[in-house]
């Protein structure tokens, strides 16, 4: 088991939790998709697990260094390190994790995402989609036990989206992917498990053969309490 917590409560203002009593278990080498309507708590949950959101309780310390060393997050809105080129950013992140980048693996990922010609461009000068690719390539190249992706499809072109699905599916070799999306297709094509987040709680879980776009759409269309 990679990660297991119970009764997670997350808030921005104390007394008004946006995630309530959420329990989650992540096994090793699985792809877990989080889907939900806007404001369901997907980004908040991912930011909390990443350790950058401080307002939570549940007996887990997501900011613990040992846990940090096991996971990498691609945020939904990210313009960080914009005065680095991709190559410099990659070097910085690998140094943070005390790892050496596998040049061949990075080149393969850059080629797959159609990013080769942008590796020496400053991140601030990249388009939204290419910036997203820079962070995604870094995440896949690290190959950590847990990869958190928040709305990874946003901003990507068709070919890169297809390649992203391929990478998510192949990531089981290294570890587990927990990713949020509001694009049903991305969830259905990649996930071993799908968690439907509604009002800060997991309202339904679909496993393996149960994962079906029609069924998930019905759940998403159900009126909320």
């Amino acid at each position: 088991m990679l990660l297991d917590f119970n009764d997670l409560n997350v808030w921005y203002r104390k007394g008004s939790p946006v995630i309530r009593d959420l329990s989650l278990t992540l096994g090793e080498h699985e792809v877990v998709g989080l889907i939900g309507l806007n404001g369901a708590g997907k980004t908040t949950l991912i930011n909390t697990i990443t350790g950058v959101h401080k307002g939570y309780s549940g007996g887990v310390n997501f900011a613990d260094r040992d846990f940090k060393l096991c996971r990498y997050t691609v945020f939904s809105e990210d313009t960080s390190f914009q005065f680095y080129s991709f190559n410099e950013y990659l070097s910085h992140v690998f140094a943070s994790y005390g790892k050496e980048a596998d040049a061949e693996c990075v080149s393969k990922l850059a080629k797959g995402f159609g990013f080769e010609q942008y590796r020496t461009t400053l991140i601030r000068n990249l388009s939204t989609g290419n910036r997203r690719k820079a962070y995604l390539i870094t995440g896949f190249a690290l190959g950590l036990p847990l990869l958190l992706l928040d709305e990874p499809v946003n901003g990507l072109d068709f070919q890169s989206t297809e390649y992203l699905y391929e990478q998510i599916n192949g990531y089981c070799e290294f570890g587990t992917v927990l990713f949020s999306s509001h694009v049903l297709e991305s969830i259905c094509l990649t996930s071993d498990r799908v968690l439907v987040l509604d009002g800060g709680a997991i309202s339904r879980e679909f496993k393996q053969n149960e994962i079906d776009a029609v069924a998930i759409r019905e759940v998403l269309n159900e009126p909320t309490d």
Partner: protein
């Protein structure tokens, strides 16, 4: 027009204009503290005018060149508003924000310590309106100079280089640092001529008060978030960042010592070591505070430039310097 003013005032002061009350209370505290001290000084009108023009113009330019402001008003510029109405509303909101959070503090301080304030109020008002209008016209019309590097061929990271690129991409930090260094040169004769040579460490504390360099993570929220999400930032971020701040402090203290040596006279050898200690301590405290307690709850980037947290290190160094002066004096 009212609709536009309301929308922009909310950008600067918050959804319920809570920033207005906070600023008025702060100005009131400054006024009462100074007035109750009984300290009176005759401030020349040109000095007040110069300080007002400089403070106001800097505040306007910092806001207008901030990427946060540019993002905030992009949506408004897209709408088919009448240009004169938009500019009038945006100028009024920005002027109110600058008056309440920056220039107003100067006026309150002046009113508290000056002996004949009527002329001063008139000079302040004229200087404020003129400098604000000119800075707005220049700041709004000039495109932000975006630094571009066509290709970065190096593949290894260097956070020092990253911060230098950031600083050259946001030149307000550079100009502020240069002004701080110029201030260091003028500080030596002021402290030296007091005849109290033991007060030299106070100058070191003031030379290390480069507060904008202490908010380089807070001013970029996504960078701050990413830095906190990554492990081992002590070696990859803390040390390079502290090295930059320490270098700026050392240059300031070096200029102060050189100026003292030229204009005042001899410097005890151990003062060089004290200068280095203040530079190192100031840098490490500044960066530790920035990493541990980043300021992320800001609406307008310029609010960061006057945030009280930034003066914690300066205050600590001043207390330390005063204690040292007392011991060696």
């Amino acid at each position: 027009m009212n609709r536009l003013i309301k929308a922009n005032m909310k950008i600067f002061f918050g959804a319920r204009y809570e920033g207005v009350l906070r600023s008025i209370v702060l100005s009131g505290i400054v006024y009462l503290a100074l007035a109750s001290s009984g300290f009176k000084v005759n401030i020349a009108v040109p000095v007040l005018a110069l300080a007002t023009v400089f403070g106001t113009a800097t505040a306007f330019v910092v806001v207008l060149q901030s990427e946060n402001t540019i993002d905030n008003i992009r949506g408004q510029l897209m709408l088919p508003e009448k240009p004169q109405e938009f500019h009038a509303a945006f100028f009024c909101s920005l002027a109110a924000h600058t008056l309440l959070t920056k220039s107003g503090l100067l006026l309150f301080a002046y009113l508290a310590v000056s002996e004949g304030p009527i002329l001063g109020i008139a000079v302040f008002s004229v200087s404020y309106i003129l400098s604000g209008a000119v800075a707005y016209a220049i700041g709004f019309c000039s495109e932000k100079q975006v630094i571009t590097y066509s290709r970065v061929t190096r593949t290894r990271h260097s956070f020092i280089l990253y911060l230098l690129r950031y600083l050259f991409g946001n030149k307000t930090y550079i100009s502020n640092t240069v002004m701080q260094w110029a201030f260091s040169c003028f500080l030596a004769p002021i402290i030296g001529e007091s005849g109290f040579a033991a007060a030299m460490p106070l100058g070191f504390a003031l030379c290390c008060m480069n507060t904008p360099l202490g908010i380089l993570l807070s001013s970029d929220k996504t960078l701050c978030q990413k830095v906190h999400s990554l492990p081992s930032q002590s070696s990859t971020v803390f040390i390079p960042y502290a090295a930059i701040v320490m270098t700026a402090n050392l240059i300031g203290c070096g200029l102060y010592l050189a100026s003292w040596s030229l204009l005042v006279g001899g410097i005890p050898a151990f003062m060089h070591i004290v200068a280095v200690c203040f530079s190192v301590l100031g840098a490490f405290l500044t960066v530790a505070l920035e990493l541990r307690f980043p300021l992320l709850n800001w609406k307008v980037e310029s609010d960061l430039w006057r945030h009280p947290r930034k003066y914690v290190v300066a205050g600590t160094l001043l207390v330390l310097a005063a204690s040292l002066s007392f011991i060696i004096g």
